[in-house]
Structure formats: C-alpha cells, structure tokens
C-alpha cells in the first residue's frame, strides 16, 4: 500500500494535495462536486483585516497554458471568514490553512492574531506578495528585510505554524527563503504568480483592468520547479509546492524537486474534480516510478544530495 500521508508542522496530511489559495474560495462551491474530506488540506482565499472589494473587472485573462488574474484580495475580512466560512470547512475531515494578507505590518498582525480565536485552522499561509501601501509600493515579497519583518510579527502574533508564501518575481529566491526561515517561518509555500500582462488589441489597452495580473497555470511550472529545487538545498523547513500542477505526474515532479506537499490552483478551473482525481492517481504514479510513499519521494530529484 502506497502511503500518501505527510506530516508537516501543524498539518497531519492524509495526502499531499490541497487546493491553492484563491482558486477554491472557502470550499463551498467545490463541496457540491465532491467530499472535501478527501483533500489533504484546503488553503482558503486570502483574509485581510477588514473586508475588501478587490479590483475592477476584467480580473482574469487567458494566456498560453496559463492565465492572468488580478482579483485584488476581494474577501469579507478575517472576522467574517472565521464566523461564516471556517465552521463550514471545519466540518470536513481535512486540514485548514488560512492565507493571510495585508497592506501594513499592523494589518498582518491583526489578521494573524484574529485567527487565534478559532481552533479549526491548522496553519497560516503568509501571503507576502501584495503591494505594501504604506512603504510606497514596495512589496514585502521582494525585499528580504521586509519579508523577515512581517514573518517575525506574524510568528509572534499567532499560535499557529506559519508557511510563508514566496513571490517568484525576485532575482534571488534563495535569499528570500533564508530570510523568512531566519525569521522563524515553519515552512514555505511557493510559488505565487509571476507578474504578467496581456494587451487587448481591439481596445489597445491592458486587458486586465488592474493592468498587470499574476500568471499561473502549467506555463509557470518550470519556474516553480527550478525555485523549489534551489531553495530546498538551502533551507531546512518544508515546502508546499505549487505552480501549474494539473496531474499526479506533476505532483511527483514537485516532490522530487523538494516539495513536501502540493497545492493545485488554476487546474481547478479547467476541471473541478482535479484534486480528487490526482489523489486517486497518486498511488499508481508513485509506484510506477518506484516509490512506496510520498515522503520517500521528497527531494529525491536533487542531484547534490
């Protein structure tokens, strides 16, 4: 019997598959397609301090083997999420990871500490790729010292393990990973989207109302694999990998590159059943390539170890 279980800080995953933040809402819609208890975990849509309306539309565009999105963190705010959404998900036999975002250090701190009020959330995913309004548009996710600062504050504010979600839009991903590890991160989550743009020819304008959007989907998988492979060799904390996963072979590729678990984002839009289908296919896929368990495969593609 192939063992799919993975044990990570705060997360006893029955399998390594979880929907990625922002691609699964708070699970309600997909719960009509299948039992969410099948999932290793669910990563919820980003929560901010107070509710946000997000960006104007169009918010998405299709690209070659991928898509752009600029939803803009639309969410009802951390309190309403805890009140209205978490209990729904908490009724399923799966782990819950709360993705948290903010514009200021204070907002991050507030969101993180507010999640202490529920016992149903197992871990935080700290999204540091949103524009930092206060510091003049610099992103927490592209400056190692800002990333370190926000990680420290969130670690202090929260009783939960913190997985820091790294942005791929940086020159040196290893430096970012080391900075947040030093700040106490329990794990990493990577990658968030690559910043991209599409121009709509008839209107001669960027198609996405926000002009730029985040590129996701199979198009970015090689970038994700490269970054995880690089980072895994320089940090000791586990990595939740993501970026273009759409089948069980992709999952194995992420495990070999160094991920301990794998999130699936864009592929949910192509196929709402993609997560349970991957979970069902995973044992056979692992066996075919000579693995008896998920844990056995983690990092096995790294040539220097």
């Amino acid at each position: 019997m192939t063992n799919l279980a993975v044990r990570l800080p705060g997360l006893e995953l029955k399998n390594p598959i979880m929907p990625a933040s922002g691609c699964f809402g708070f699970g309600r819609e997909y719960s009509s397609f299948y039992d969410l208890g099948k999932l290793g975990a669910v990563i919820m849509k980003a929560a901010t301090g107070t509710g946000r309306l997000g960006n104007p539309t169009p918010r998405v565009a299709e690209t070659a083997s991928g898509m752009l999105n600029a939803i803009g963190l639309q969410n009802p705010g951390v309190e309403k999420i805890i009140e209205n959404e978490v209990p729904f998900l908490g009724a399923y036999d799966t782990c819950i990871i709360a993705n948290i975002a903010g514009s200021t250090l204070e907002e991050y701190e507030k969101v993180a500490s507010t999640f202490n009020e529920t016992n149903l959330v197992h871990a935080l995913e700290l999204n540091i790729s949103c524009p930092n309004v206060k510091e003049g548009g610099i992103q927490f996710g592209t400056d190692p010292s800002l990333a370190q600062a926000v990680t420290e504050i969130v670690k202090k504010a929260s009783k939960l393990p913190v997985y820091v979600k790294l942005s791929p839009n940086v020159t040196n991903i290893v430096e970012m990973a080391k900075a947040v590890e030093a700040a106490g991160a329990d794990g990493l989550s990577m990658i968030n989207t690559l910043t991209g743009m599409q121009i709509h020819l008839p209107s001669r304008k960027p198609l996405i109302a926000n002009k730029t959007g985040g590129l996701s989907g199979p198009a970015i998988k090689p970038v994700a694999i490269r970054m995880i492979y690089e980072v895994k060799q320089h940090v000791d904390i586990p990595i939740i990998g993501m970026g273009g996963v759409s089948n069980a072979e992709d999952v194995l590729e992420f495990l070999l590159a160094g991920a301990s678990a794998v999130a699936v984002g864009t592929a949910n839009f192509s196929n709402p059943y993609v997560c349970p289908e991957i979970i069902d296919a995973l044992p056979e896929t692992l066996e075919r390539y000579g693995f008896n368990s998920v844990e056995e495969a983690i990092g096995k593609g790294i040539m220097s170890v």
């Binding site: 922002g22 691609c23 699964f24 809402g25 309600r28 819609e29 997909y30 009509s32 397609f33 849509k45 309306l53 997000g54 539309t57 169009p58 918010r59 998405v60 565009a61 299709e62 690209t63 083997s65 991928g66 898509m67 999105n69 939803i71 639309q74 989907g217 199979p218 864009t266 949910n268 839009f269 192509s270 196929n271 709402p272 059943y273």
Partner: protein
C-alpha cells in the same frame, strides 16, 4: 439544480449566420434540469479556461441542448471545428436563470447580437406558459441575423440592424415604443445596450443577463463580479447571475 461536469455529444453543427454556429448537443442531466438563462461552461481542448455559452434551446424528449455561438477568438474558433460525434465536457447547468412566475402576462424580449440565444429558450418557455411575447432583436448587419422565424413563431418580432441592411434601422432602444404594452422585459446583449435599455425603462420590472470574463465559473474565484447597485459589494455573474434584476446591479 447542482452543477455537474457532463459529457456533451455533438449531434449537429450548423453555420446559421456570419461566424455564427448552432450546435445541438446531447446530454441527459443538463437537458432535464436547465432553465432559461443558464449556461454551459465548456472545456475546449488546449485552453486553460472554460468558455461560458448560454443554453439557447432544449428538447427534453430528445435530451438535446442547443447552443449558438459567435466565433470571436481562439476558443470559439476551435469549438467551431468540432464535428458531430465528437464530445466535449461542460459544467452545467450553470448560473441562475430567468425566473418566471407570472403566466399570461406580456413580456418584451430584447436581444442584441450573441445575447439573443438565451432569449429563445426563455421565449419558448414563456409561450408554453401562455404568455404574450414581443421580441426585438438587434444585429450589426444583415449577415448577422439569425433565428428570426423562430422568434416570429413565438410572437411579434422586430429585427433591427445598426446599418439598416435588414429590418428596421438603428438600435433596439429605438423600437421599444413600437412594441406596444408589456408587463416586464428580459434582455441580454452588450453592456452599452443593457445600459440604454435600463435607463430608458427605469420603472419597468426587468431581468437582464450579463457577461464577464470568468475563471472558475462556479462562484469560487471572484473573477466575474459586477458592482451591486447599492455600491456596497459585488455580485458574481457566474453564480449569483448571469441573470439579475435590472435595478440590482450597477452597469
């Protein structure tokens, strides 16, 4: 009715107007459960995102669903190459459709271009409920006109073309006066048309069907929103809509 992922078997593919394809699809679940105004979210090979296409007609006995679509970009271009016998998968029935409670009233259907299709299944359903139906269908030019006879079979029908090459000349809003009395209206078409209609008919009850680029198509990703009329939030077109009360949203 719950959305399911269904296998659609293509039964026929017909070019019914310039770059406009009518496809008859066979599927039990969706043909038995869909109401007018709902849509299919069609997976097209080689494309990351599904394409929303309205249900234009249903034959419950034959278990077929008719869709009409215009070749606009890469996805519809590809779909237009599909042949009878081939299949594709679709989520459906998606969205909230036109809820019709009153019977025996007079309804005005106002469709623009590729907004016409959902109105046909609606019109047929209303006709079955013995309602009175008047239709105004706007197209750019003669080559784009389709389904004129089918709407005529439901009731009085005005065709308008922007360039006057067929029927009346101008915009659908120019004809509303000629349509005579109606109790409420149903409309689907480009946003500028819907804006013109709702501002011309500020007090009439009406339902409008909206379009927006979609991610998930099931209400999870927040891609397809439209501001509520009260300015306090957003509605999701894929799951709260695509059909809204004319006064509920801010166009």
């Amino acid at each position: 009715m719950m959305i399911q992922k269904e296998n659609m078997i293509i039964r026929s593919v017909t070019n019914i107007a310039l770059d406009t394809i009518e496809m008859v699809l066979e599927n039990t679940y969706i043909s038995k459960t869909a109401i007018p105004g709902q849509f299919l979210h069609a997976a097209i090979e080689g494309h990351t995102l599904r394409r929303p296409i309205s249900i234009a007609d249903i034959d419950q006995e034959k278990e077929t669903i008719t869709i009409l679509f215009k070749i606009l970009g890469k996805g519809t271009e590809k779909l237009a190459t599909y042949q009878p016998g081939m299949t594709f998968d679709a989520l459906g029935p998606s969205g909230n459709g036109f809820q019709v409670d009153n019977t025996r009233a007079t309804y005005l259907l106002i469709g623009g271009g590729i907004g016409v299709p959902p109105l046909y299944y609606l019109g047929k359903t209303l006709a079955e409920k013995k309602c009175n139906i008047v239709s105004i269908l706007g197209f750019q030019t003669e080559e784009n006109v389709f389904y004129e006879e089918r709407f005529q079979a439901l009731g009085k029908t005005f065709i308008v073309t922007n360039d006057g090459s067929y029927g009346e000349t101008g915009f659908v809003t120019d004809i509303i006066e000629k349509a005579g009395h109606f109790d409420s209206y149903f409309s689907c078409g480009p946003v500028p048309m819907l804006k013109a209609i709702t501002s011309k008919l500020p007090t009439k009850p009406g339902l409008i069907s909206l379009e927006e680029r979609m991610g998930c198509g099931v209400g999870a990703c927040m891609a397809c929103v439209i501001p509520s009329a009260d300015g306090k939030g957003y509605q999701k077109i894929c799951s709260d809509g695509p059909v809204f009360h004319a006064q509920e949203v801010s166009l």
